[in-house]
Point group: D2
Chain length 145, copies 4
């Protein structure tokens, strides 16, 4: 697998469905975020790190293409990849699958901002971590979400 | 109406339903909270006030009894009342109705804590506001939630 | 105002924020949906209508651009417009504002599917309603969400 | 461990926090539900089973006591137990822990209803399954929720 990609399993919750009997479409952004958090953790980046450096990460755009309905209790996989890395922002792309079947894909652009919502360059050590593969011994069976 | 009671209309959102075709039961706590926030606003208490005094309000227990299913697009009313006021905590009770029909009822106990999660007495001016009726000219047709 | 546009006020809920102190980005899709449901209601289209005709409306793609943070208790306006209408799908676009300030914009494409998730043309009477302005006497002060 | 108890690990999601920096209190009902769904799956009961028999399970009351704040990225354990089993309803109790530390506890009562929301006795084979321990070979490391 591409070193810029990581996989996270997620079990679909009852409350994530709607009256159509399928997962409500806003939840896909939640699954993408869970994939992204896990992707970062596998490269040694945690939210605490950002906070300690006084930086915040804000989602500045997001898009999703929905191809198949997702159902309660499905065990899905979110495949998260680093798609672009610039001075002030980073793009992650996502593919959601159930077995071999692709359910959705999407991407989000995130930017570094300080506490006054001003753009700041991504710190060098974060850039290094973003460019690295999963750390050896990354928890591959970690509970989804 | 009892001066310790206020009403808030809420329109049920699509995403709040689940695959049973009715509102998912965790949302009732969200509607109660919306009722409570509105109740406080009508007595001149806003979240900004709490924050400025360095206090936080934490929910320490909650209970809900569900009597009727609630549906997408229903226009419900949350009736929020102050049920008890002690030095360190306050209890609100709630009744949810659709027209004359009672849908659910419940209560939540909230406590004042400082930033280290230590209990603190409710400040005197907040106690005064909690004991007061709605301010004259309270927005009665304010958008729900 | 353009007859293909309608406005909905929404009060931001406490639970819609995240630990950054601002509205979590997945909620924007929820606000857009509330705007869309209200847009349809103002033209005489309700979910019950769809259901009676055995058709479902599925979101097939969605995108959001976030320009400003949104805060707890903000009173925002979602401006929903019909952006495109084809045989099998319809695109709505959205602008979210707080006063004069634009907070976000986005769009969603929806398609008609039957109970087997097969694409179906949008029924003629729905097309007619989608092309019409708000019905006279549409509730303009309806509780948001 | 008591045969009427099962454990589920859950990783706390970013979007489950609120502006207080901790998990929003309505989410505890979501974690309890995830624990209950997993408890049932480990005894061979799936939602599909209920649906096939034309029965629905509705939450008729719920209560939560919150003792400690829960944080983003915490890995918690939900301990779900069958607390009471009657002809028409069943009570589950829950304890949420982070390591040795108890975070919250609660319970929910669920009742069998048919599609017209009328109470129905719990079917005999479901009663049998509710009284049984985890099936041998139950997936103990299954991704949380």
């Amino acid at each position: 697998m591409d070193p810029s990609t990581s996989l996270l399993e997620i079990r679909i919750r009852f409350c994530e469905t709607d009256l159509m009997g399928v997962v409500h479409h806003a939840n896909h952004l939640v699954y993408f975020e869970a994939g992204r958090v896990d992707w970062l953790r596998r490269r040694g980046i945690t939210f605490a790190d950002w906070a300690r450096q006084g930086i915040h990460i804000a989602v500045i755009d997001a898009s999703v293409r929905y191809s198949k309905p997702v159902f309660f209790d499905d065990l899905i996989v979110v495949e998260t990849s680093l798609a672009a890395l610039r001075s002030y922002s980073v793009v992650f792309s996502y593919v959601m699958r159930r077995g071999e079947e692709q359910l959705a894909e999407g991407s989000t652009r995130l930017a570094c901002v300080d506490t006054h919502q001003k753009l700041r360059p991504i710190p060098p050590d974060v850039v290094r971590a973003l460019r690295s593969p999963e750390l050896p011994g990354s928890p591959s069976g970690a509970p989804g979400t």
